[in-house]
Point group: C2
Chain length 553, copies 2
Amino acid sequence: MQQHSPTTKVWDTHRREKQRRIESVQAVAQGKVLPTEQITAILETLIAPGDRVVMEGNNQKQADFLSRMLAKANPEKLHDLHMIMPSVSRAEHLDLFEHGIARKLDFAFSGPQSLRIAQLLEDGMMEIGAIHTYIELYSRLYVDLVPNIALIAGFKADRKGNLYTGASTEDTPALVEAAAFKNGIVIAQVNELVDDENDLPRVDIPGSWIDFVVVADKPFFIEPLFTRDPRLIKPVHVLMGMMAIKGIYAKHQVQSLNHGIGFNTAAIELLLPTYGEQLGLKGKICKHWTLNPHPTLIPAIESGWVDTVHCFGGELGMEEYIAARPDVFFTGSDGSMRSNRAFCQLAGQYAVDMFIGSTLQVDGLANSSTVTRGRLAGFGGAPNMGHDPHGRRHPTPAWLDMIEEPDPMARGRKLVVQMVETFQAGGKPTFVEKLEAIDVAKASGMPLAPVMIYGDDVTHVLTEEGIAHLHRARSLEERRAMVAAVAGITDVGLGVDAKRIAELRRQELVVFPEDMGIRRTDATRSLLAASSVGELVDWSGGLYNPPAKFRSW
Amino acid sequence: MQQHSPTTKVWDTHRREKQRRIESVQAVAQGKVLPTEQITAILETLIAPGDRVVMEGNNQKQADFLSRMLAKANPEKLHDLHMIMPSVSRAEHLDLFEHGIARKLDFAFSGPQSLRIAQLLEDGMMEIGAIHTYIELYSRLYVDLVPNIALIAGFKADRKGNLYTGASTEDTPALVEAAAFKNGIVIAQVNELVDDENDLPRVDIPGSWIDFVVVADKPFFIEPLFTRDPRLIKPVHVLMGMMAIKGIYAKHQVQSLNHGIGFNTAAIELLLPTYGEQLGLKGKICKHWTLNPHPTLIPAIESGWVDTVHCFGGELGMEEYIAARPDVFFTGSDGSMRSNRAFCQLAGQYAVDMFIGSTLQVDGLANSSTVTRGRLAGFGGAPNMGHDPHGRRHPTPAWLDMIEEPDPMARGRKLVVQMVETFQAGGKPTFVEKLEAIDVAKASGMPLAPVMIYGDDVTHVLTEEGIAHLHRARSLEERRAMVAAVAGITDVGLGVDAKRIAELRRQELVVFPEDMGIRRTDATRSLLAASSVGELVDWSGGLYNPPAKFRSW
């Protein structure tokens, strides 16, 4: 045995420091309740320079009171914070960097703030740790990004800290657990404080995980990100939807799936009760969904197509409808929805047959990206769901159907479908020789191009021209020809000649609508189960309550 | 718009059915508390034939009171149950099938019960849904295996159902959430009932998620699965450990990792404070771990090598040690550990640089399996951690180091290391031309061979002969030669000649100990930081309290 002297190391520095900080605000706190108007000064006391701070910002739920108040902190007191944020979505998230309060950022998604992030980087006011998918970022909270502080949002809390997150729980449990069980400090903003646990609709997070609650100056901000107005669905989307249903969903027996948020997939949702019904597919496909509660799914649910939907997050206006459909949605004992982004991403990765989504650019090998010049938009959830998980071992018919040759050493594959029009609005080609992401990476000093979905994970490319069954490609050259065959008159599409296309069609490596018995002239908007938001409300029996901006039908 | 008639469908059948069942036991229940001695009759009432029943059986924590009592049910009342179990580890788990109470099984792991499962299958008394990894099985609870019933285990509960899971939380939250938020019925067995929440050490699961608690006839069963006695570590393990540390960990800057449970990796843990220290690697490698609390990690922790350890589950005897090291382990406000298998598997998949583990059989392309004839042992967690997650987007030095040519469209890779001796105990070759798993699949009617880790995910094979850097293989032929070069005198190893091996070594595709400056004669047990369980106890300052069977030093 090696010699070793008795350790004199202190092993509870984090716990002692947490205790010290909590005691330092005892004069202003009432138990766990912090006073709203003094919160900035309190944050300056509870947080220390250099801390790793998780800030809840999701697709919908935002700890926006806490982020606004933190941005008012004195940078002489609070500086060099390392912010960890699923979604960078509000102006004050970046004010933190401009004011010198925060220095480093690890994040997963930044929609509207992506331009400003690129600017802050260029100006040397921000350092980026890494850009993640949501689920990677949660994972690192338990490994090398353990937070000192978690600033999160809930709907209601009692004085013991028991938290009701509201009708969309989202990321909160994953963010809180890492801090609560590693001697971090958890501060929850809530819309309302109640005296007793019995006054809470339900408990989503136990009070012993929450150190402080503070009533926000106004309810947390929510945005309806997943509502697609059926009026904006074009006949080409209907055509592509018909191809998807007949040429992919039915062909491969897709029973569980995730949809992206584009108009293409909204069209599919609205075609199930019409075109899908005509094909006799009800009960055979699309039974289990990992999906935000898309309003365009209402007709399929009402028509009995959908067994279950587990949600990443919520969608404004869908609360009452969800609460009235507990056989389909996951709801609590109070009746309102329980979403959980961590588990839904896990399910979307490992438990579903298919991911189908849209993108902005696709190269000749089907690599894709939503990054365009000057924007660091992040990854969100698509790379997690849009890849073939090699760790999967349970088979389903669709997964096994991706195996071409009988071979016990083969693996099945997840279906990863890229569904795009060959040109974007404004005539910009979707199919390009080289992704702009490559230059963005160079300009921002990223080690690799921010590719959303890699071509080797893609099984199908679907355009208005047809479907390329890439899972059957036997070589890179063939894969390239198949992509080109459905790339229309883009430069990529012009790289394959008619003879090769005919040969690919003969082998059913590429199929066009007519090969599937789909007439382009049948693809009209009249096939949609609902053609406006108003008709979605009708389908819901008045339970769906669309936000004002969608109320113009 | 399509015509649709107002729906007359009932949308809360599950909720109504749950309510009906709960009311049916009100005469015997005291609030949420069920009487211990009547539990079989109550289960016959709360569960219905054909139900999907989640039964908590993990590596350690077992809802064994509930499984024993369910096995006593009358098969005329309870039959055709569909059991969903992370781990099938107890005799009564299979009695359920023999008695005709259960019919279908979805599971992840079956250690000692694997032979009997194969027998029940052959006798037609059991139908297998699928064999999963743990995390896939949790995922499906939110998609197509939503449970009607969850039977789980905790340490203590109060009368409102608030649950303290004990010093190892494991799978419980993942199993409970799916049932609790989809109108399933959750029944928790506990070792002890307390009157009030304040008498619980902490709350791991809120009372509103738990429908019933019942005090078990005896404390739930735990087995120390991850304790490796240093006395059984052989010099060859020391040699292989030295190669791993110098030739893989240091070479690729592995900072976060998961270890398997073999003596090989136990040797590495015990070499860090000695050999690792000599190489000046402290603080440079092995800082963050996703790992059960292996006792053999104690010397590395005490020597300051380890920043954090997040655990899948617990390990008997490590409770006090963990509670005294909260800077390293994840612990609750009460001081005891919080493990979480779902999050730890997620972290082990997406947030660590490396997985390293042993296996029973490896073929010429580095596909591996632990399945041997007649045993359906399941997958557990290895395939999840032992694959390259294509959904990962954040870079680390080790991950980027797997890229051979500079290319912005390249991806990094997770290090997946197979560490095996060329022969198993008893002279059975580890390297084989064909995995026995292929015949097992045929015999059991499985669609694919139960491969634990696929060769294309493996970056390194390490044997007592040397290291094959498979991440650098440029063709299948080269990969095969590299595997053969470290496969010793097995048939696979004899398939490559000395000249080719010399060429592979010259290109550093394969490295032998002498190529790394490691002398085989230095690999002695005296290098181990502890050579017995007693010395581990010494290192821990008496905090590690090994179970009786390890107390023979």
